[in-house]
């Protein structure tokens, strides 16, 4: 996992190395793990430069034209969070006092709050975007000292996100936009398919096996989900 601890050019003195702050438990947690078999919840955030609030509670501009998509799947029983973070138009280098510069913070829209989970900073995906994905298992530490001591990740569990996702936001911090280049509050996403309809008379029931049924000219054809049902033609009674 990359740790971004860029020093501001010309800053007097050294920036305190984050891993030495907050109790020295930084290496015991935040473990990269394989994806779990199932999830208890999922969330997405559309990060923009218009929602940045600095630590003093003031609205400041993020990186103009930049966007970010933060997708999370959580298994709160196993304290695992799988992340898929994509940034478009965000200009490195990253900069943060935390273990990395890409976080989930706790605060409502329009407010600033401490980071609770840190993620590897997105890297060049080869298509002009930055991307970072994987799964982490808590307990989580951020490397940021909490008020009163300890780490801002201390005591935090993923069930808290599930209880109120609107109280959490994803963001990333860069040298040019220390308060945040892009930020977006989390919103919940359903798991699995949508249960609509039960009469058995829908036309496709007797017909097409095509996955992308209609595509407009110029639109990218999105391939069907892996393992699509072409082979699964159930014999009906």
């Amino acid at each position: 996992m990359s740790v971004s601890l860029a020093k501001k050019a010309g800053a007097a003195g050294a920036v305190t190395i984050a891993v030495l702050v907050g109790g020295g438990s930084a290496t015991a947690a935040d473990e990269e793990v394989p994806e779990p078999a199932s999830f208890t919840s999922a969330f997405t955030a559309a990060a923009t430069p218009d929602e940045i609030i600095n630590p003093d509670g003031m609205a400041v501009a993020g990186e103009e034209g930049a966007t970010g998509t933060f997708n999370f799947r959580i298994n709160s029983d196993e304290e695992i969070i799988c992340y898929d973070i994509m940034l478009n138009g965000v200009t490195p280098p990253y900069m943060s006092m935390a273990r990395s510069a890409t976080h989930i913070h706790e605060a409502l829209a329009g407010q600033s709050g401490p980071p609770r989970v840190t993620f590897p900073d997105p890297e060049d995906a080869g298509d002009g975007t930055l991307r970072s994905s994987g799964c982490l298992q808590g307990p989580f530490t951020t490397g940021i000292e909490a008020e009163g001591g300890g780490d801002t990740g201390d005591g935090f569990t993923l069930k808290e996100i599930e209880a109120n996702p609107a109280e959490y936001y994803g963001d990333t911090h860069t040298m040019d936009f220390v308060a945040g280049a892009v930020r977006g509050q989390l919103s919940q996403v359903p798991l699995g398919g949508v249960p609509t309809g039960g009469g058995g008379t829908a036309p496709n029931e007797r017909g097409s096996t095509n996955m992308a049924l209609y595509v407009s000219a110029g639109a990218i054809v999105i391939a069907a989900a892996a393992g699509a049902t072409l082979a699964r033609r159930r014999v009906t009674n």
């Binding site: 997405t44 359903p190 398919g193 058995g200 008379t201 049924l213 049902t229």
Partner: protein, 234 residues
Amino acid sequence: MRSRRHAGVVFGLILAVGGCAEAQPPTGASSAPIPTSEPPAPTTAATTGEPATTSTISEASTPPIATAVPAPTTSTAAPTPPTTPAVRPAPIAVRIPSIGVESVLLEMGIRTEDGAAEVPEDYDVAGWYANGSRPGGRGPTVLVGHVDSTSGPAVFYRLHELAPGTHIEVQLADGTVAVYEVEITEQFPKSQLPIFEVFGATERDVLRLVTCTGQFDYEARSYFDNLVVTAVRM
């Protein structure tokens, strides 16, 4: 022959069973004829959680006409508040002239029993996934609706007919109308629905309509697949 749905027992069972609306056949159906042009009762069913008493499917399968446009009220499973800025008006009705769809939108959340998207109890009414984005936001505005019931076609029965370029009108709570143009229609197995492709944040102001399709599982009384129409804001 279409028989009138006995909503009382039927809807109670649908709510309890879940899945892709495993509709029980009407019990003790009276042979009252189905009115051909009666608009359905206003959204009392889903708003209060009680079974609709007069919801019927017309023979001509014309969708319900949204006469008044009431502000949508939350259904029994209250959705968590949307995180998009409150300044954006919520979508309250949808109209697709080319396939005769016209419906108010009920606010939907997530079902506690399985974490799946909540869908309206009323087969004739569409829902808006209220945890997600709204028109104007950087995320999909997702509408859900049944494709059919044991009584016949439901609100999104003809969704599969939507060709690219077709217009969809979404009425907003501030009285304005957001128009979207269909871009692509896709079919995904429900068990492998790519949830972020359907519900995840997007770069553009996008509308998605979701219903069921594909092979019908007669034992489970549900479809295997979801049909997802994506439309882009004009």
